[in-house]
C-alpha cells in the first residue's frame, strides 16, 4: 500500500497528461498554466513555510556539539564541529549543506556473537544522497540554457564538465546516469533494508517515483526520441518572457516531463521536501555554542514561582542553628 499508492499516483499523473494533450488538446493548460501555477505554489509555499518556522522563536541555545568546546587556550577547539562564533557556524552549515557532514558520520550497528555490538562504516547513504542532490542541482542549472536567449557562460562550463567523457551524440551527460542510479538506489534501499522499509511512508516513495519519472522522460527525450530542441526553447522562452507560445511538434514526452516537474514543485512545500529550506533553520546546527559566553535571550521568558531562601530558612532555621550553619534571621 505504501508503495502501491504512490506508484498509482504517478501513473495516474502520466495518464492524465497524455490524455489531456493527445485527446483534449490541453497543451496550453499543461504547457503554460500548470507550470506557472506550480511555480507560484512552490515559491509562495516555501515562503509560507519559512515564515511559519521563523515565527516560532528559538528560546534556548541548543546546538548539538560534535567536538571539543572552546575552553582554555591550550586545548584545541574543534571549531567546525563545535563552533563558538558565527563565522565557524557558517563553516559548519556549509559542510552540512554542501557535503552532508552528518550523514558522512554514518555507521552501521550490528550485533555479533558474543554478544558484541560492532560499528561498521556505512557511507552508501551519504554517497547516494550526495550524488542525487548534486546531480539534481547540476541538471537543473543545465536547463537554464532553455530559458536564456544567450546561454550564460557558467552554464557552458557546467555542460562541458558534465559531458567531459565526450561520448555519444548528443553528448552524454554524466549526471543523467548518476541521478538515475542514485534515485534507483535510494528507492531500492527503502524496500530492501528492513529498518528503512519499516519507517518509510507513502510520502517517501512518492517523490522518488516522481523524480524517477522526470529523469526518465528527460533522458528519453535527449538521447532517444531526440526532442525538437528549438521548439522546447521557444516554449521555455515564452514562459520566461510571459509571452507564452505553444510550438508545434514538441511531443507528448515533454508534456509528461513538464507536468511531473510541476507536480514536484507544487508538492514540494507541503511535504518532507521542505527539508531543503528547513536545514538552514535547524537550531542544533546553525547556532554557535557560546551560551556560556553570551547570554541567549528567550523572548517568552516569564517569571516563575520559586521556593525562596527565606522560605527555606523558615522551614529549617532551628535545624540549621543546631549544626551551626549560619542563618539570616535569628
Amino acid at each position: 500500500m505504501k508503495i502501491l499508492f504512490p506508484f498509482v499516483a504517478v501513473m495516474t499523473l502520466i495518464i492524465v497528461v497524455v490524455a489531456g494533450v493527445q485527446f483534449a488538446n490541453l497543451q496550453f493548460l499543461f504547457g503554460v498554466i500548470i507550470p506557472y501555477a506550480a511555480l507560484v505554489t512552490f515559491t509562495a509555499g516555501i515562503i509560507y513555510r519559512v515564515i511559519k518556522w521563523a515565527g516560532s522563536p528559538v528560546p534556548f541555545c541548543i546546538p548539538t556539539t560534535c567536538g571539543q568546546q572552546k575552553s582554555m587556550p591550550w586545548i584545541k577547539q574543534s571549531k567546525l564541529e563545535n563552533p563558538s562564533s558565527s563565522l565557524w557556524v557558517i563553516g559548519r552549515m556549509a559542510l552540512e549543506v554542501f557535503f552532508f557532514r552528518s550523514l558522512f558520520r554514518n555507521i552501521k550497528t550490528e550485533m555479533r556473537e558474543g554478544p558484541k555490538v560492532v560499528y561498521g562504516s556505512d557511507k552508501w547513504l551519504w554517497m547516494s544522497g550526495l550524488a542525487f542532490h548534486w546531480s539534481f542541482l547540476i541538471i537543473l542549472l543545465r536547463h537554464f540554457r532553455f530559458f536564456s536567449v544567450k546561454v550564460p557562460y557558467l552554464i557552458h562550463v557546467i555542460e562541458s564538465l558534465d559531458s567531459f567523457l565526450q561520448i555519444g551524440a548528443p553528448l552524454f551527460y554524466m549526471t543523467d546516469a548518476v541521478i538515475l542510479a542514485a534515485v534507483t538506489y535510494l528507492f531500492i534501499r527503502r524496500i530492501a533494508l528492513p529498518q528503512i522499509k519499516y519507517i518509510s511512508l507513502a510520502a517517501d516513495y512518492f517523490p522518488l517515483l516522481l523524480i524517477l519519472g522526470i529523469a526518465c522522460t528527460g533522458v528519453m527525450m535527449r538521447y532517444f526520441t531526440k526532442v525538437d530542441v528549438v521548439g522546447v526553447k521557444q516554449l521555455a522562452m515564452g514562459l520566461m518572457t510571459f509571452n507564452p507560445v505553444i510550438p508545434n511538434g514538441i511531443g507528448v514526452l515533454l508534456y509528461i516531463h513538464l507536468f511531473l516537474i510541476s507536480v514536484l514543485f507544487a508538492y514540494f512545500p507541503f511535504s518532507k521536501l521542505v527539508h531543503m529550506a528547513g536545514v538552514f533553520l535547524s537550531p542544533t546546527r546553525n547556532m554557535a555554542n557560546n551560551s556560556r559566553m553570551v547570554r541567549h535571550i528567550n523572548p517568552w521568558n516569564y517569571p516563575v514561582h520559586v521556593h525562596t531562601y527565606e522560605e527555606y530558612e523558615n522551614d529549617f532555621r532551628e535545624k540549621m542553628k543546631m549544626v551551626e550553619i549560619p542563618v539570616d534571621k535569628e
Binding site: 522563536p57 560534535c66 550497528t109 528492513p194 529498518q195 528503512i196 519507517i199 521556593h307
Partner: protein, 540 residues
C-alpha cells in the same frame, strides 16, 4: 511486581530486524520492568502540577481528565509556537534512517519504536493528523493518525524510554534532535498528570529542600562530616568545610547524589581534599544543594524554578563566581539554559582561578566553571603534586556523559586530568566515545529500580564497549564525570561486565593528590588498602 531476574545471556539475544506488522498497526504493549511507577499525588501537588491522581500504567483505565485530547492538542499548538526546534522537526524529517540504529535503547532492545525516527513519528503522526492539510485529507496514507488513548499510552511508554541523550541528533543530516521531541512529549504528558515517581519525587524534594534526595541542612552537614572523618583516616589531615558562608569567593554546587551513596561519595571526598589542598576560599550551600535538575525531565518551567536557586544563592552569599561538580545533565542545563532562564548573572565576576590566575573567558556570561576545566588548568600550571602510582592498580577508561559531550563539548579536559593522575588509561572504541558516546542507559530520571530491564537494555551498548577494553586491556575502572553515571553504571557493569568498578574523575585525582602534611598513604579514597603501599608499611 516480580523481581527482574533475566540473565545477561538471555537479555542480549536482540533482534534488530523489525517485524512484518506496520508500526501503526502494532498497539503498544506496556511491559513489566520497562517502565517506572507513576508519580505520587503529593509530589505533583507540592510543585503545583496538574491532574495528580492514582493510576496504574498496566490498567486499562488511566483515569484521564475529561477533554484530555483538547488539552494535548492545545498544548502542542502552544509548543509549536514557542519552539522553532519542535515546529521544524515535525516537518523536515525525510526518514532516511541514519538515526535508526544509533539509539542505545534500540540497540539494546530491538524494539523498532525505539528507533529515534519512529519515536518522533509517534508524535509526528498526530501532528500531521491535526495540524497539516495533507494529513487531514490523506489520513493514514500520509502517515497521519488520530490522537487516541492508545496513542497516548504509546507516547508515555516510549517518551520514558528516551534519555534525551542526543546521539541521534549527531547523525541526522538536519540535526533533528529526538531529545527535543521527547521534552515536548513529556511536557504534554505532564499536562495530564502522567509523570513518573522517580522524577516527580526528586523534583518535589529539590523544590522544598534544595536537593533531589531531600537532604535537610543538618543531614548535608553530617554527611560531609563523615567524609571529613574518612579523609582524616586516609591522610591524617582534618578538613573543615564551610556551609552557606557569606563572603566566600566561590560557591560550589554539585549533585546531591554524591553526598549519599557509593561511589559518588568518593568523588565528594575528592572535592573536599582538592579544595582543602588548594586553600580555596569556597562554600557549600544547603539551599542550592543540587547541581542536577530533574525538573528538566518534566517541564521547562519546572526546570527553571529549580535552577533559580543557584544564582539566587550566589547573590545572597555574595560570592564572586560558581564552581560546579561532575554531572551530565546538570551541565547541559548550566551551559544551554541557566543564563537564559535566570540570568544575567551580572552580580558575579568572570571566574578567575585564585590559584593559577587563569581567567575562564569561556564562562564570562554564566560565571560558572566545570570542575574538570578547573582541575585541568591547575595541572597544566603545575599547581598539583600528583603521585600517579597510587592509581597503578587501576586500568582506567573514560565514559563521556551524553550532555557534557553533545550539549557542551567538554571532551579533552577530563581526559587531560585522567592522563595526569593515572598511568594506565585506555579509550573505548571510537564510535562509542566523545560526541558518539553512549548513554549509561538510565538518564533523564529513568534510574529507578522497577524499570531494571529497560536500564540494562539501554546500558548494553556502553557496557559492551567497556567489555571490549576490559577483555583487551584489563580495564577495571570506568571513570566518568556524572553523578547519575556513578549510580547507574555500577549496576550496569555488575550486570554486563563484572569486575569493572565506577569512579568519578575527581576521586582518582584525590587518590593521586599529594597533600601537604599528609601521612604516608596506605588507603585509597575507598578506604581500601593501596596495592603496593601496604607492603612498604610492613617493611617499616
Amino acid at each position: 511486581m516480580a523481581k527482574f531476574t533475566t540473565k545477561p545471556n538471555e537479555l542480549s539475544k536482540i533482534n534488530l530486524i523489525p517485524p512484518q506488522t506496520e508500526w501503526m498497526d502494532t498497539p503498544v504493549e506496556i511491559k513489566e520492568h520497562m517502565f517506572c511507577h507513576p508519580a505520587k499525588i503529593k509530589d505533583l501537588e507540592t510543585v503545583g502540577f496538574p491532574n495528580a491522581r492514582e493510576w496504574k500504567p498496566t490498567e486499562e483505565d488511566w483515569k484521564l481528565p475529561d477533554n484530555w485530547e483538547r488539552t494535548i492538542l492545545e498544548g502542542m499548538q502552544s509548543l509549536l509556537k514557542k519552539y522553532r526546534s519542535f515546529s521544524l522537526f515535525m516537518d523536515i524529517c525525510v526518514r532516511c534512517g541514519a538515526c535508526a540504529d544509533k539509539c542505545h535503547f534500540f540497540i539494546g532492545s530491538g524494539d523498532p519504536k525505539n528507533m529515534p525516527v519512529l519515536r518522533a513519528e509517534l508524535m509526528r503522526s498526530v501532528y500531521r493528523g491535526n495540524f497539516t492539510l495533507a494529513g487531514k485529507i490523506l489520513k493514514k496514507i500520509s502517515g497521519a493518525r488520530d490522537l487516541t488513548v492508545n496513542v497516548l499510552k504509546e507516547w508515555w511508554y516510549y517518551f520514558y524510554q528516551c534519555t534525551e541523550c542526543r546521539r541521534c541528533s549527531v547523525f541526522c543530516p538536519y540535526g533533528i534532535d529526538q531529545a527535543e521531541i521527547t521534552m515536548m512529549g513529556r511536557e504534554l504528558l505532564n499536562l495530564l498528570g502522567l509523570n513518573i515517581g522517580w522524577i516527580a519525587g526528586p523534583v518535589a524534594a529539590c523544590y522544598m529542600k534544595g536537593n533531589h534526595l531531600g537532604l535537610e541542612p543538618h543531614t548535608i552537614k553530617s554527611s560531609i562530616d563523615l567524609f571529613v572523618d574518612d579523609i582524616e583516616t586516609i591522610t591524617g589531615i582534618k578538613i573543615t568545610p564551610s556551609f552557606n558562608r557569606k563572603g566566600a569567593e566561590i560557591l560550589f554546587v554539585t549533585p546531591s547524589g554524591d553526598l549519599f551513596a557509593n561511589p559518588g561519595t568518593y568523588t565528594a571526598m575528592g572535592y573536599l581534599m582538592l579544595f582543602h589542598e588548594l586553600g580555596l576560599d569556597y562554600t557549600w550551600s544547603t539551599y542550592a544543594s543540587e547541581g542536577g535538575n530533574f525538573g528538566f525531565f518534566t517541564t521547562n518551567e519546572m526546570a527553571k524554578r529549580l535552577n533559580s536557586k543557584i544564582y539566587a544563592e550566589a547573590k545572597r552569599l555574595g560570592v564572586k563566581w560558581i564552581l560546579g561538580g561532575e554531572c551530565g545533565h546538570m551541565w547541559r542545563v548550566l551551559s544551554q539554559y541557566m543564563d537564559t532562564w535566570n540570568g544575567p548573572a551580572d552580580f558575579l565576576e568572570v571566574p578567575v582561578s585564585p590559584i593559577t590566575g587563569t581567567k575562564f573567558e569561556n564562562t564570562r556570561a554564566t560565571k560558572m566553571v566545570h570542575i574538570s576545566e578547573f582541575t585541568a588548568d591547575l595541572i597544566k600550571n603545575g599547581k598539583l603534586k600528583l603521585d600517579k602510582s597510587r592509581n597503578d592498580h587501576l586500568k582506567v577508561t573514560f565514559h563521556d556523559s551524553c550532555n557534557t559531550s553533545r550539549g557542551m563539548g567538554l571532551l579533552e579536559e577530563p581526559r587531560y586530568v585522567l592522563k595526569n593522575v593515572c598511568n594506565h588509561f585506555y579509550e573505548m572504541p571510537e564510535n562509542t566515545i566523545r560526541e558518539k558516546t553512549f548513554c549509561c542507559g538510565s538518564g533523564t530520571g529513568l534510574n529507578a529500580s522497577e524499570n531494571m530491564e529497560l536500564r540494562m537494555r539501554g546500558g548494553f551498548p556502553r557496557a559492551n564497549a567497556v567489555k571490549h577494553v576490559h577483555d583487551k586491556h584489563g580495564v577495571n575502572m570506568l571513570a566518568n564525570i556524572c553523578a547519575i553515571d556513578r549510580a547507574t553504571l555500577s549496576a550496569s557493569m555488575d550486570y554486563w561486565v563484572p569486575g569493572v568498578a565506577v569512579a568519578g574523575t575527581t576521586e582518582l585525582v584525590a587518590n593521586a593528590l599529594v597533600m601537604k602534611g599528609e601521612i604516608e598513604r596506605t588507603l585509597d579514597i575507598r578506604l581500601e588498602p593501596l596495592p603496593g603501599k601496604e607492603a612498604s608499611e610492613e617493611v617499616n
